[in-house]
Amino acid sequence: MNKSAQTEGVKQKIALWGVGSWGIRIAGSIQSEYQQRVEVVGVDSDVQSLICSSLVHKIIIGEKTVRSRGLRRDTGKVEKAFRESEAKIKSKLADCRALLIVGGLGGGVGSGVIPALCNCARELKIFTIAFVTHPFKFEGKKKNLLFQKAREEIEKGPVGLACFSLDRLVGRIEDDTPHEEVFRHCDRILKEAVECMISYLTAPPQRGGDYALLESIFSSPGETVMGIREAAGPNHLITAVKGALSALSLNATELGMIKGVLLQLETGGSISFRRLEQAIGAVSGVLSEDVDLLYTIDKSKEKGEKIMVRIMAAGVPEEGENAAGQAIPVTLTADRPPAKQTEINFKRLARGMFVNTDPTLFEGEDMDIPTFVRKGVSLE
């Protein structure tokens, strides 16, 4: 972080805390790429899971209370363990400007520690967003009740909550998909969601960092969904945006009920204003008029001329219900912007020997087309 840019007395650090073995795994997968932007910390009562993790910063909670073992759904023990380590946790959080928490709420360490951590961050007036998962329905009522209890606790204060339903995440899988593949998919979605948020929070002020709006988006009741798509070639931005929208797996009615969207574009090339306008128009065109939409553009040399689009939409009613818990009325039409008539650029067809190959794109220009054609230079 640029020290000269720091304002005295203003907290600068953004931290990502992975809670419980699953949260630690997700945080660990993010550490290598984002450690320059955020401080990644692992929190667990189970020493074994921390030992196995590659995270640089680790906090063991309740060493005396639980003697370095898991907490396993014992809320009394969780409270005691957390109180035991509270001073250590608060000191680590002292210089934080924003805190991202990731973990599961399925009755393990996450269910106990994440709400307590949110309380702690609330006391310290730290902007906080928790990324959690709603357990699978098949895991039983008890697990789902523990989830509800933990969720209610988190929602008490001004804390953002991005809650991903595991049932929705795996909604489209084939019957013969191996279970390891399914869990990997869930890990990836959570990881991408956290990365998307880090990208927004650490973007320059003109491209991100509206904390108030972000908090408002992620305070909406309901679930969060994520759509990711990468594209290359001509019109890659709009192709990727449409693909990511489709990957949200929501119908027109559900799309219309979204409360807020965070859109992240990641590319090595540059994006023209017109293309950006088109892309954001494509997103807002399928959403209701009062939706809050935030976007950020991340430069990544690794992407080259490809573009990666991540859309995180919050406030989606739980499957089969609207925000008030009623059955969703089916709408057959959705207001869409009228189609635009565009001009075909015939110069772009002058590709000669490269006519049947993928275009070589740099900043939206196809380098396979002769320079004199693209630049409009007369040879006579």
């Binding site: 290598s32 320059q36 040399k301 020997m353 070589t360 320079t371 054609v373 630049k375 230079v377 040879l379």
Partner: protein, 412 residues
């Protein structure tokens, strides 16, 4: 008992030509070229295989030519790899030193390098090279060899080169079907740099630009460390295509005109000449303007060097280039190209030809053999490193290339 000969074959599978080069390391360590074979490339576009059958036939012919000259049967090759799919970036990782009381160990260094290369890649991509750059111990930065230094925190910085799995597999299939085993793939510009860039240049900052038929590949060195690599999907074929479309000629006529008369500077010619081409069966052989030809070439190459300059500026390297540019590859033979590159970048520019090898000098003393010579030099360096590590029981990272003998010598 006859001693086993230390022979390596480099295979440069380019978009316009395939070059096989067989070289032997003599007892005193000198590298001698035994055989060279070149054959026009078929079945490749922009550095990637688009027709396996045609590419296999071209590889067979190039290697067979080299075998005939040196009377040695080639069984395996070290091959160059390029293409628009190649991407590279720098990555770093910080780890605690395992035992601060004894300082940084080689094991710590390898752990840090391993952590720095643990970058998630899409399923269709893979890491081709992990090039260690430098280390930091606590707050001490820019350390080439931290072994034995005291500290609690070790940071490794590496340069990662990745490519598409399918592109590499296609190339492996072609070479295997031609009857040869692939010992290793090496990024083309890294190989070329071994052949034409000198140590002093690497120290003071140099950009090696290998202009091939389908791509322009470059690598930037500073303090003998590879800082940046990139592949631009624009090469000599784009010049030929531009000439063909601009002057309404067949591709082979455009290629002939480019090589015979073309210049990268259009204002070098006063007045205008009418050019003639030999291959006039289909199109008129006269009435072709030299000024028009040079203008087409100048526009394309100007754009290419501007792209190169901008990329280096954006990466923050441009101001640190002390030794300028070294142009190599077939594209560097274009007349006046060095002068144009110098005008655009404001840097000293030279054309790089292979050095540090003997035998068949009259053939290989040309920029078109840089990659092939670099491949065999790489092979011998690698072989020495592996031999040394066997002696000490240390491991050699699976995908190591330094481009700098210093690194190989220091660590293995």
């Amino acid at each position: 008992m006859t001693q086993k000969r230390d022979i390596i074959t480099g295979l440069d599978v380019g978009t316009t030509k395939i070059c096989a080069l067989v070289a032997e390391r003599e007892e005193n360590g000198d590298i001698r070229i035994l055989g060279v074979g070149t054959y026009p490339s078929r079945g490749l576009r922009k550095g990637e295989v688009i027709n396996i059958t045609e590419a296999v036939a071209s590889i067979e012919k190039a290697v067979s030519q080299a075998e005939n000259i040196c009377e040695f049967e080639v069984t395996s090759v070290i091959a160059g790899i390029t293409g628009s799919h190649i991407q590279s970036f720098n990555s770093r990782a910080v780890l605690p030193v395992a035992n601060p009381s004894i300082g940084v160990t080689r094991k710590d260094m390898f752990r840090a390098i391993d952590a720095a290369q643990a970058v998630p890649l899409p399923r269709d991509r893979e890491v081709l090279h992990v090039i260690p750059q430098e280390f930091s111990v606590d707050d001490r930065k820019g350390i080439a060899d931290p072994e034995g230094m005291e500290g609690v925190r070790l940071e490794a910085q590496v340069h990662l080169v990745s490519g598409e799995v399918a592109a590499r597999r296609n190339l492996v299939n072609c070479i295997t079907q031609a009857g040869f085993e692939v010992e290793e793939f090496v990024l083309q510009q890294l190989a070329s740099s071994l052949a034409v860039v000198r140590k002093e240049e690497q120290q003071s900052g140099v950009v090696l630009v290998d202009i091939g038929g389908g791509t322009t590949d470059y690598v930037y060195f500073r303090d003998e460390i590879i800082r940046h690599t990139r592949v631009l999907g624009v090469g000599g074929d784009h010049l030929t295509n531009d000439i063909s479309l601009g002057m309404k000629l067949l591709l082979r006529q455009a290629e002939e005109l480019k090589k015979k008369y073309g210049s990268a500077l259009s204002d070098r010619v006063t007045g205008d000449d009418e050019l003639a081409i030999l291959d006039a069966l289909v199109r008129p052989a006269t009435g072709l303007s030299r000024k028009k030809l040079d203008r087409i070439i100048e526009l394309r190459l100007t754009e290419l060097f501007h792209l190169l300059r901008r990329d280096l500026e954006e990466e923050g390297h441009f101001q640190s280039i002390g030794s300028g540019l070294v142009l190599t590859g077939g594209g560097s033979l274009q007349k006046d190209i060095a002068a144009l590159a110098g005008q655009i970048t404001g840097l000293p520019v030279r054309i790089g030809t292979p050095f540090g090898v003997s035998g068949l000098r009259e053939i290989i003393d040309s920029p078109i053999y840089s990659t092939a010579v670099g491949l065999v030099k790489y092979g011998f360096l690698r072989r020495s490193s592996t031999d040394r590590s066997r002696g000490t029981g240390d491991r050699v990272p699976g995908v190591l290339f330094n481009g700098i003998k210093r690194w190989l010598d220091r660590y293995f």
